[in-house]
Amino acid sequence: MGNLKRLPRPKKIRITPTNVRLYNGVVRNWPNMDEFEKFLNEGGIVEPNDDIPEGYRNAVFSFIEMHANSEYMGGLTERDWIPKAPGLHRKMTALAKSQDEIGHAHLLYMVAADLGVKTREEMITDLLEGRTHFHNVFHYRVHSWTDQIAVAYLVDAAALASQQAVFKNCSYGPYKRILRRVIAEEGFHMRNGEEMLLLMARGTDVQHQMMQESIDRWWLPSIQLFGPDSRPDDELLRWHIKSERNEDLRDRYIQKFVPQLLGGGFTIPDPGLRQDSEDGKWKISEIDWQPLKKIMRNGGPDSARRISDARRAWYDAEWVRVALDAAAKADA
């Protein structure tokens, strides 16, 4: 059992109030990319009715599509735990979180479809046929309840950190507005993860050991969620779709979570982990990015099962869509 007094109390997530009501109805166009980039550099927000340059449209579309796919796959993972979660309260939480994630996916697919690159049906079909991608963390199997806690604590926190960084400076109006809500709701999920982890940290030796095994499985996928170092010419950064480099986000995450886990009496599965004697910063071993590349081509340890489960869920619910369509037609 570790020294629990050192584990800091979960902090409430606070977002600097940023009014996302930036819509003023003015339709803009830009004579060339230089003018467009100047507009973005000055903090300009792009709206759907603007004359959006093709390159930007495609980039922002792919980014939102990937986010939507990840929320959707995340919601399905959470759903798997509704019947298995221990106790009514945890089941209610799993249900609410699953509904949140699917709700986020819904909003994101609406905004992505509006960009006119693909319809929502095309995006869903591409996802279910394994042609498009989703976050690395949903390509692994969740083996146990403590795995699910590790996902809620480590993975949700990593996802939240990257969403907060996108929100801060995001140049696409409708996406920025959705992120505001997503972040508010994910903050609550993270608090829930922290609470469950603390419970295990204070639990029996067996529970503590189970939690440790789950941390061992999920630590590396969580820090890999931020991706390899950003390329210097990354257009997502240049166009203010993202606002921070992957390596900076990853480093901040490590500085926060290494002391938290150690404080809870857990170890970090990294033999090369050390604290720099000069600046006191935590340094991790070099990451081998080859496995991530395979995972991102849907070749991860659990990718095939996850995608086929998503496909089954989609076709099992076909009758609901048919019934809703029929009801809508009858009302009209």
Binding site: K12, I13, R14, I15, P17, T18, N19, V20, R21, Y23, G25, E47, P48, N49, H89, M92, T93, L95, A96, Q99, D100, I102, G103, H104, H106, L107, M110, V111, D114, G173, P174, R177, I178, R180, R181, A184, E185, G187, F188, R191, N192
Partner: protein
């Protein structure tokens, strides 16, 4: 002999600034979740009205209320009331403004069309009866092309 009104007022002031577990810039007072602070001769109780009875955040709200009261110098118990029933009418004007401006969330008026909080368009298109939570539906504004979440003014099950 009962607990002095000053104590009740201190507790009321402390717990009314407790924020919603998700929307950190809205308080339980603004959202109409805080119903009353009452006292008998030995204890102070905070009455809360949950937005929905099955809300998984209730224990978090309870913990936050107890902690806020304790920080003001008093131990309290929390009771979740079965009545009155929470409706969006209980959301204060300033909270409505924050929801609209910060989150593109609007409250369905009892009468008249729902307005897009961004551009004022009244011809919103329904997209889903439920959104991320059961109390909100999702609509699409075809003018400014943003999704709008609408808090229902009626209970689930009613049309």
């Amino acid at each position: 002999m009962r607990i002095a009104d000053t104590a009740i007022n201190v507790v009321r002031a402390a717990v009314s600034s407790v924020t919603d577990p998700e929307y950190a810039d809205l308080t339980i007072q603004q959202l109409g979740i805080l119903e009353d602070v009452v006292a008998d001769s030995i204890s102070i109780r905070v009455d809360l009205v949950p937005t929905i009875l099955g809300c998984p955040a209730l224990d978090v709200i309870e913990k936050d209320v107890v902690a806020a009261a304790r920080a003001s110098g008093y131990d309290v118990t929390v009771r979740f009331c079965m009545s009155p029933i929470w409706t969006p009418d209980r959301i204060s004007e300033d909270a409505r403004q924050i929801l609209a401006e910060e989150y593109v969330v609007t409250i369905r008026p009892r009468e008249g069309p729902t307005k897009c909080p961004l551009c004022g368009n009244t011809a919103l298109q329904p997209r889903s009866d439920v959104g991320g939570t059961a109390c909100r539906s999702v609509e699409w504004c075809p003018d400014c092309r943003n999704p709008v979440e609408v808090v229902r003014s009626r209970q689930m099950g009613e049309r």
